[in-house]
């Protein structure tokens, strides 16, 4: 009887042990599977699309800049006398002026830049004569672009429709382009005597909340630094000198990312118009809101409605840093950001710039420069040129523009490859959140070096030439393949005759 009881106990103990052992193996297998599954959906999760797609309160999508505030932006290094930008420094001014000369006056671009009709454009090319051949080439390339475009509509129909829809919205007249002297135009929405805020800090706090409520993902405030205000241009005024209106005291500057998946599929499948549309609308809403409270407002918005340079103002407002490709780099969305601003006479408390060591990253990264299909970005180890007194990496805006004109966007506007490939252009999932929090806090640079080693060795980057359209020698490559909803073969009655070159899920 006792023996039987013992053997029953032994058997029960054995089966319990076996259960635990087998259960342990099953649990380990399930955990590995769960890690893979949870990881995969975290990568796919649309909630990682930082920006307007998420809740405006979305706490963890914002980077806490406060520990990194500094008095002077590390990327605004003064290396010579500061000069304000000229009318001609703004690419779109030159392009629009030359377009006008061609269409209205019958001017034909030729090798001699000195024959350009507009003296302000000539002034620019007298400073950069080596850039004129690129601009000249852009006219020819645009003709080629237009001649070849329709052959590829089947492939890009949905992407171009998406872009075109936002383009139509973008070109609406809200906010209206100024048509009068700023002393009049900037006050057109002022409804009453200014309502006094409790303090500039209160005003800044509320203004930022309003920017979020108007759909903006990132917002900062800075004093208007005259060194970034264009000379000789003022919307609404045929002639203007160097004067800066007195009521332009503070700048509220904000931005949103471009929709992530199309942006990664630059060039043909991407567009800036989605983000441009959103920031433009927000600049109008912010101006109208300020007017309701009795304050003057001057919206600055894309495509080309500016009196000042947005990137340095955003740097001064602490939104991010300047980097190799000349675009603003933010900790949340990298350079995937489009900016607009409002100048106002409302007293605001300014934000300080930030030091996130992004410049160090750029020194060793160079991925954008290697990927740029027009070779417009400097590959130097350190900032290698001085522009209007500031040390920065060399950038050839004329060759960049030439590539826009030949690339596979419907309008011949925009490329965005340097934005898509940048290692800072990462969604807000857990691996990138860990990295973006740890790198700026690591004084040894180990995190940066490990990341760069991974970026350079593990990630696939199409060859720079492959980003070109077929008509200029490429294969329409993109950093990521287009998302499902932009693939016309998934929705339209088209025959798929193409292959994709770009990163994909790899399964």
């Amino acid at each position: 009887m006792v023996d039987k009881k013992h053997s029953e106990e032994a058997a029960a103990s054995l089966s319990r042990r076996n259960f635990l052992k087998m259960g342990g193996i099953a649990a380990a297998t399930a955990t590995v599977g769960a890690a893979a599954g949870a990881g995969f959906v975290a990568g796919r999760d649309p909630d990682a699309n930082v920006g307007w797609g998420r809740t405006e309160a979305g706490k963890d999508m914002y980077f806490n800049r406060e520990p990194f505030r500094v008095d002077k932006a590390p990327c605004l290094n003064i290396a010579g006398p500061i000069e304000r930008p000229e009318w001609g420094d703004f690419l779109f001014n030159r392009v629009m002026s030359m377009g006008g000369s061609m269409h209205k006056d019958g001017w034909k671009p030729n090798k001699d830049w000195q024959q350009i009709p507009d003296p302000r454009v000539r002034e620019y090319y007298s400073r950069y004569p080596e850039r004129w051949p690129e601009m000249l080439l852009s006219f020819r390339e645009k003709v080629k672009h237009d001649a070849n475009l329709e052959k590829h509509r089947d492939r890009f129909a949905l992407a171009w429709a998406y872009s075109g829809a936002f383009g139509t919205g973008l070109h609406s007249n809200f906010p209206p382009v100024p048509t009068a002297h700023p002393d009049e135009d900037d006050f057109k929405w002022v409804k009453r005597e200014p309502m006094e805020f409790q303090s500039p800090a209160h005003a800044s706090k509320l203004v930022k909340q309003m920017a979020n409520k108007f759909g903006m993902s990132l917002v900062g405030v800075t004093k208007l630094d005259p060194s970034f205000v264009f000379k000789n241009m003022m919307r609404g005024m045929p002639d203007w000198g160097e004067e800066i209106p007195k009521h332009w005291k503070n700048v509220i500057i904000f931005g949103v990312p471009m929709n992530w998946d199309p942006m990664y599929a630059a060039i043909g499948y991407s567009t800036s118009f989605d983000a441009y549309y959103r920031v433009k609308q927000a600049s109008g809403l912010m101006a109208a809101w300020l007017g309701e409270l009795g304050y003057a407002a001057r919206p600055q918005f894309p495509g080309a409605d500016y009196e000042a340079m947005m990137v340095p103002l955003a740097i001064q407002a602490g939104l991010g840093e300047a980097t190799r490709n000349g675009i603003l780099m933010t900790p949340e969305v990298g350079p995937n950001i489009r900016l607009a601003a409002v100048f106002t006479n409302l007293d605001l408390e300014a934000d300080k710039p930030v030091d996130l060591h992004m410049g160090h990253f750029c020194e060793s990264c160079k991925i954008c420069a290697d990927s740029c299909p027009s070779g417009s970005i400097s590959k130097a180890d350190k900032p290698d040129t001085v522009v209007r007194g500031y040390k920065k990496y060399g950038f050839n805006q004329d060759s960049c523009w030439r590539f826009w004109q030949q690339g596979p966007s419907e309008t011949g506007l925009g490329c965005r490859v340097c934005i898509a490939v940048c290692p800072y252009t990462r969604k807000n999932n857990w691996i990138h959140a860990l990295v973006k929090e740890s790198d700026p806090r690591d004084p040894t640079g180990l995190t940066r070096n490990a990341l760069l080693a991974m970026q350079h060795n593990f990630f696939y980057y199409p060859d720079a030439e492959n980003y070109h359209a077929e008509w200029s020698g490429g294969n329409f490559a993109s950093y990521h393949q287009p998302p499902e909803w932009l693939r016309s073969e998934n929705y339209l009655k088209v025959e798929k005759t193409w292959e994709y070159d770009g990163n994909w899920e790899g399964i």
């Binding site: 042990r17 635990l20 052992k21 087998m22 259960g23 342990g24 193996i25 099953a26 649990a27 380990a28 399930a30 955990t31 590995v32 769960a34 890690a35 893979a36 599954g37 949870a38 990881g39 995969f40 959906v41 975290a42 990568g43 796919r44 999760d45 649309p46 909630d47 990682a48 990664y264 969604k427 999932n429 857990w430 691996i431 991974m454 060795n457 593990f458 990630f459 696939y460 990521h480 393949q481 990163n503 994909w504 899920e505 790899g506 399964i507």
Partner: protein, 105 residues
């Protein structure tokens, strides 16, 4: 695992936590049978290895999920190989220490 899901996502993480208890009980049983003489630092090393292994898999698949196919597989291959070697090394150490303690006994 179930983004934006109100019910499934918390349930999933609770279940995964519960499974780790079963995992620990199972490993404990194996360790006893093989007389590994587990103590706090052996458990810490084994737990650390397991955590790194699971994190590596999750990290690699996150990259795959966000369409970084190349990076995901390379990362899994590189970090995964290192971890498998480290895991084999850890097992060897545990077995050697068991043999030593048995010899001493």
């Amino acid at each position: 695992m179930f983004p934006q899901s109100t019910v499934l996502d918390p349930l999933f993480w609770m279940l995964l936590g519960a499974i780790q208890v079963l995992l620990f009980a199972g490993v404990n049983q194996w360790a006893k049978e093989h007389q590994l003489g587990m103590n706090w630092w052996k458990w810490a090393l084994a737990g650390g290895w397991w955590f790194s292994f699971v994190l590596t898999i999750a990290g690699a698949f996150t990259l795959l999920g966000e369409n970084e196919g190349n990076a995901g597989w390379y990362f899994l291959g590189f970090a995964g190989t290192l971890l498998v070697i480290a895991g084999a090394g850890l097992l060897k150490v545990l077995l050697v220490l068991r043999d030593k303690s048995q010899q001493l006994a």
